[in-house]
Amino acid sequence: MNGSDVGASRVAPTGRRRRRRTRVDWFLTALRVSMIALVAVGLLAFIAQEINPDNPFARWANPDATGLTGAQFRGLVISGIAQGSMYGLIALGYSMVYGVLGFINFAHGEVFMVGAMTGMITSNKLADAGLWESNFIGSLVFIVVVSIIVSSLTAVVMERVAYRPLRGAPRLIPLITSIGVSFFLQNASVVLLGPASKSYPDVPDWVKAKHTFLQIEGAKILVIVVAALSMAALWYYVDRTKTGKAMRAVAEDAEIASLMGIDVNRTIVKVFAVGGAMAGMAGILWGILFRSVIHTTGFLPGIKAFSAAVVGGIGHLGGAMAGGLSIGVAESVGPLLILEPLGVSGVSQLRDAVAFSMLIIVLLVRPAGLFGERLPAEDRA
C-alpha cells in the first residue's frame, strides 16, 4: 500500500493530487464557490446596510432593505437557539441509531410527534384539573416524565417489531421499513386523535412574559435550559456510565463487544429508548413553544433534525447538538441576514430553504460533516 503511494508520487512529483480533475470536480468546485460567494455577498450587503442604509453597495443589493435593530437580531438568534436545541435533541436519536445499526431511522421524527401528542393530552388533563396554572413546574415535570416513557416505549417497540427481524439485512431494507413505520405512526395518530390540529393549554403569564433583564420570552429560556440539561445528562450517560461505554463499543464493533460479554441486543434496545426519550423531551418543548400539534408535526422537524445530525457528522453526539443549533440559528437569522439584503422577496417564508441550503453547503465543503470522521469506503451506508 505504501509502495504504491510512493510510486504514484514519483510519476507526478509536482502536484499533490494524483487523480486528474474530472468535470464533476470542476462542477462541485464551482458550486462550492458560488454558494459561499452568495452567503458572503449577502453578509457584506447586510453589514453595509447596517453601517449606512444609503451607501451604494447596499442600495445596489436591495434598495428597499431596512436592516435590523439590535433587539430584532438578538430575538432572531434566541429563537434560533431555542428551535435549534430541539432539533439537536431529536438529532441525537438519529445519530445514535445510525451509530449502532448503520441506518437512518426515518420514523424517529414520528417518535418526536408521539412525545408532543402525549404531552398535549397530559397537559390538557392537568389544565382541566386546574393544576397547570397553580403548579406549572410540577405539571411540566409530570408531562415530561409521561412523554419520555411513552416515546421511549414507542421507539423500543418499533425496534423490536420492525427493525430487529431485519438485523443483518442490507441497510437499505430497514431504511425503507422506517419510512413505513413513519406512515404507520402518523396514521395511528389520525385514528386515535383525529386529523385536526390540537393545542397545548396556554402557559401561565409569568412564563410568557419577557424576562426583565434579558428581554427574552420566558418560554424560550425554559426550552433552552431544559434542552441543555437533557443534552448534559445524555452526554454523561454515554460518556461516563458503563452502559454508555457498552453503547459506544457496540457502535464500533458489535462482534468484539459481544466478546466482552456485552449483550448487543439489549444495548441496541437501550439506544432506541434513550433516543426516544430525547425526542419525547423535544416534543414537550415544541408544545410549550408553539402550542399547536398535529399528526404531521414530526415530519419537518424530523427531516431538519436528520439534516442536523448529518451537518454535525452522523454518529457524533456533540456534532448532532452543534448541527441542531447551527441549523436552528441559520434558518432563523439566515433569511433576514443574507437573503433580504440581496433583494430576495418574501424572505420570511424561506426558512426551510435556508435550513436545507445550509445542509448542502456543509456537505459540499465537508462531506463527513462538521465533526465527522472520514469513513473508509466499506463503512459507508
Binding site: 459506544r248 464500533e252 462482534e255 468484539i256 463487544a257 466478546l259 460479554g261 456485552i262
Partner: protein, 265 residues
C-alpha cells in the same frame, strides 16, 4: 517453565479446562470443521496450526459460541456449553485476543481495559487487575487517556492482551497473534505470550507461523481443511517432516504451498 511432558503426562487423570469432542461445524454448505477433537489443560500453552481456510478461525468461533456446531460438544470446565451464548462463556473464564487486535479505536485505552472487565462487579479486584496490566505493560499506563486508535501496532497488541486479561480469564484464546505486525513486533508479541503463560495463564493460540508458535508452545495440532491431521508435542511437531507437507493441502498450487512453508520456517 511447564514442559511438554508435564502437559501430556498429566492429561490422563486431569479434566481438560476446554475441550472439543468430535465437533463438526458448517458455514452454510461449507463443512468447515470435521470431527475435531481438542483438549486444553490448565496451565498449558498450546497452539493450533494450519494454512489459510483450514478452519482455525472457525475453531475459535465455535469455542466462543459465535458459531454453533452442527454436531459434537464444546466442553468448558466439565460443562457442555453448546447452547450457551458468548457472554456466558466469557463469564465462565474464556476470552479471546482477536486477529488484528480489534480494539475499540474511538474509545480510550482506559475504556478498552474497563470493557474487558464488563461482566465483573468486583471493583476492588478490577482495580487490582488494572494495576497488574500496568505492571505487565508499563507503556499502556502512559497511554491510558489516549484513543486506542492512535497507538502504535505494538502498543495496541499490549492493550488487546490487557483487555482480554481484564475479564479474569482461565483460558486465553489468541487468534493469529503474528498477523499484521512488523517482524520485530511479532518476536516481541510471542515473548509477551510466553510471559503471561509463565505467570500462570492457560493459552490456546491459533497461528500460521508454525516455527514461532511451536517455539513457545507445549503441544500443538495441525488443521488441514477442517480436519486435525497432526497432534503431538511441540518438539515432535517441529521435527516432523509432515508438518511442512501438511501446509500444502487443500488444492493449493505447489509453488504457493512452498512459499508458505518457507515463510513459516
Amino acid at each position: 517453565m511447564s514442559s511438554a511432558d508435564s502437559g501430556t503426562a498429566s492429561s490422563a487423570e486431569r479434566v481438560p479446562l476446554l475441550e472439543m469432542r468430535k465437533v463438526n461445524a458448517h458455514y452454510g454448505a461449507v463443512h468447515a470443521l470435521r470431527d475435531v477433537d481438542l483438549s486444553i489443560y490448565e496451565g498449558e500453552l498450546v497452539c493450533l496450526l494450519g494454512g489459510n481456510a483450514s478452519g482455525k478461525s472457525t475453531t475459535l468461533k465455535t469455542l466462543l459460541g459465535m458459531l454453533k456446531p452442527t454436531s459434537g460438544e464444546v466442553v468448558l470446565d466439565g460443562e457442555v456449553v453448546n447452547d450457551r451464548p458468548t457472554s456466558y462463556r466469557v463469564a465462565r473464564g474464556i476470552t479471546m485476543v482477536p486477529e488484528n487486535r480489534r480494539l475499540f479505536k474511538r474509545l480510550t485505552v482506559r475504556e478498552n481495559l474497563q470493557l474487558g472487565a464488563y461482566l465483573r462487579k468486583d471493583s476492588d479486584a478490577i482495580a487490582a487487575d488494572m494495576e497488574r496490566v500496568y505492571e505487565l505493560f508499563p507503556r499502556v499506563k502512559e497511554r491510558l487517556a489516549q484513543k486506542a486508535g492512535t497507538l502504535s501496532g505494538g502498543e495496541q497488541q499490549m492493550v488487546a492482551i490487557g483487555r482480554a486479561l481484564m475479564s479474569q480469564p482461565r483460558v486465553l484464546l489468541m487468534d493469529e497473534p503474528s498477523m499484521g505486525l512488523a517482524p520485530a513486533l511479532v518476536q516481541q508479541n510471542f515473548e509477551l505470550i510466553s510471559q503471561i503463560h509463565e505467570a500462570g495463564m492457560t493459552v490456546f493460540m491459533v497461528e500460521q507461523n508454525a516455527n514461532m508458535a511451536l517455539g513457545i508452545a507445549d503441544r500443538g495440532w495441525v488443521l488441514q481443511t477442517g480436519r486435525v491431521v497432526l497432534d503431538d508435542t511441540a518438539e515432535a511437531l517441529l521435527a516432523n517432516p509432515a508438518l511442512r507437507t501438511s501446509y500444502l493441502g487443500g488444492g493449493k498450487g505447489n509453488d504457493e504451498g512452498e512459499t508458505a512453508a518457507d515463510d513459516a520456517g
